[in-house]
Symmetry: C2
Amino acid sequence: MRVAVLGTGVVGRAIAGKLSELGHEVVVGTRDPNETLARQEPDYMGNPPFAAWLAEHPQVRLAGLADAAAHGELVVNATAGGASLEALRLAGAANLDGKVLVDVANPLDFSQGMPPSLSVVNTDCLGECIQREFPAARVVKTLNTVNAMVMVDPGLVGGGDHTVFVSGNDPEAKALVTGLLTDGFGWRDVVDLGDITTARGPEMFMALWLRLMGSLQTPMLNIKVVR
Amino acid sequence: MRVAVLGTGVVGRAIAGKLSELGHEVVVGTRDPNETLARQEPDYMGNPPFAAWLAEHPQVRLAGLADAAAHGELVVNATAGGASLEALRLAGAANLDGKVLVDVANPLDFSQGMPPSLSVVNTDCLGECIQREFPAARVVKTLNTVNAMVMVDPGLVGGGDHTVFVSGNDPEAKALVTGLLTDGFGWRDVVDLGDITTARGPEMFMALWLRLMGSLQTPMLNIKVVR
């Protein structure tokens, strides 16, 4: 499948790398490819520059946001949540129409200090904002409840015995994404929460995830829904 | 131990009943005991009137909020989250000072439709509001992430292999509450999230819990933190 992954951070890299490894034709989208490739310093988190990552993933191509989105039959929003709507506008509605748009972002707001709060919350969420602004895209919210490594390798935590969620208005889109999560990434428990408004649940879970990370002193954690 | 349980709904009944069964001297507090005892109809959820419950729990006494709080060495806030601050004001700061105040309420807001949203959220939470207004109380937030039956009998879900959280500023108060949760109620995994501001996590988890209940069609569920 032709896939666009928008975003060049740890999340975009993890998903692009895994999808490429699975045989998909992956183009990573960024606002300014030349600027992204010119960076030579690690980012503020200590991650190596994108060019170094790209050199190790020769099957992956870097392009502008619109070019990448045009390439993808499936588009993954792996941009920072606070910048996602702007990035998707640059990707262009025409390049998203009718496509499965997998939103894995969290609308984190660092302006109130650490841990971050959410910039959209409670009676709205980022997944809904995206679906409202791009009504012809088939938005599926998923994977935002775990860190980048766990997203594509759930076995890294507790042998993979834990849960991931999907929310979206389009049952076929959710089925396709669920197939990628199980057959591609190795998730064993995928709970379909319902329509895109249910993404408020996993997005607001971020508040608990951040405190769990603080208390347990590791981001290598997840929740299993016991029933 | 002398315990006050504020609130006569299903949560108050579950906790009062269990603590009484464990041998504690339990007084349930309500705004107007005569009015509470006079009710003869089931509530809107179909629960029998409080008087019927009380008749089956002769060790438990019903009193006004202030009388109950004065009795308790430990006070449990099991009122509806939207009414908790007012109920605690009626209980009286002097009757709460220095005491462990276990807050199990969720600030659910039904005014925006179902599922409810939260009336305090994101950069504040009910647990913090209570601690701010009653600075001499030793507030511990816990148990708000599961339904009333599971609170006092975690084995009802998945053999009890799941997690509950405590948040609070007072380590001794958290240790006492953790002991009640483990030795009294049978919880096996209690995660201390940190100070009372960390209660934002479990309170915001309610958004996910409500959608899980909707998707799985049962309130008999919980999460296990896998790490």
